[in-house]
Symmetry: C2
Subunit: 197 residues, 2 copies
């Protein structure tokens, strides 16, 4: 069987985070069956993104304009910077419409196990932004994991002597969350930080 | 946010069978981070497949040559035709190297619920192949579902008056399968059709 082109495509698709070889093969067959509609438009969409999208030099967001549409939006509050681990977290916060300031993508969190130290992350440029004077608050929105919280404390320490408020996201019961599915740590925190209704 | 190009790509990827909007977004970020290596080669692989691969006019397989490499392979046994539901089943059988004859892709199975009757499937051309005379055995390798087995019986009835042996895959315990994970029907069948060791 000289199925090289199909095999290559299966291999390429199987590299995507959510796909394995088997689901990649199913995806290829799906695309082959709908060549005119789905395959052509997928190729077009991929080419457009590959050509136009690039990381924002200011915050690290991915966008078709540079600086990105958030950094260049005059309506956003430049006195607040929200520090996130990755672009996906930035997009999640944007979907929630919870925040109207600017972002700063770290590109990861500190991890002794993976050999990621401060120099591997965009920490230096964050300090630069803060020292520029316009920033009043840095909101650290890193994951509630050990590595994430270690990184949050590290950042808080670095920013201690700068003239900014450093804050973090609150912990508690997720909105719409069932109590008996939650872990002990979350329930304990939600109890400790309980509030009047 | 004018994130139209990225949104379009996420939508296109989310149409693939194994991906939802969330995993499609992760896939897009993965591709953006590895633009030079992964994204470019994925676009190239997709374009190659879109340009070169087409269904085989004889068996329905997807291949870069027409007729497909199986139908045009002189070493394959033209006296045996294996009927499968879909191209993915054909590929699975080819990977198993269990069969050295030719294939016939039905394109589905009969389903009253989905409104799929005999005219929606490639049944007519199967009959044509059998009546041409060279075929000695038709092996029906359809799924062991109600619809699959209904279709198998329908095909067996149609082929009854032709001069061919009609056979089906055997049922039983999958090789390497744990007994306590198997359904009752499979265990009952495996018991009824037990064999000497």
């Amino acid at each position: 069987m000289s199925k090289t082109e199909i095999d290559t495509l299966v291999e390429q698709l199987a590299k995507l985070p959510a796909l394995g070889p088997r689901s990649a093969r199913r995806a290829v067959l799906f695309l082959l069956k709908k060549k005119e509609t789905h395959m052509t438009s997928l190729i077009r969409a991929l080419t457009e993104v590959a050509e136009k999208v690039q990381p924002c030099p200011l915050c690290g967001n991915m966008d078709t304009v540079s600086p990105c549409s958030i950094c260049s939006d005059l309506k956003r509050d430049k006195s607040q910077i929200c520090v996130v681990q990755d672009v996906s977290d930035l997009w999640a916060l944007e979907r929630s419409q919870a925040f109207k300031g600017l972002y700063h993508v770290l590109g990861g969190v500190l991890s002794a196990l993976d050999g990621i130290g401060p120099d591997e992350l965009n920490i230096h440029s964050l300090l630069g932004k803060v020292q520029n004077g316009e920033v009043k608050e840095v909101i650290i929105a890193l994951p509630a994991t050990v590595d994430g919280q270690t990184t949050a404390h590290y950042l808080a320490e670095i920013l201690e002597n700068e003239n900014v408020i450093v804050s973090g996201l609150s912990h508690g019961v997720p909105v719409g969350g069932e109590l008996d599915y939650l872990d002990d740590g979350t329930l304990q925190t939600a109890f400790k930080t309980r509030r009047g209704i």
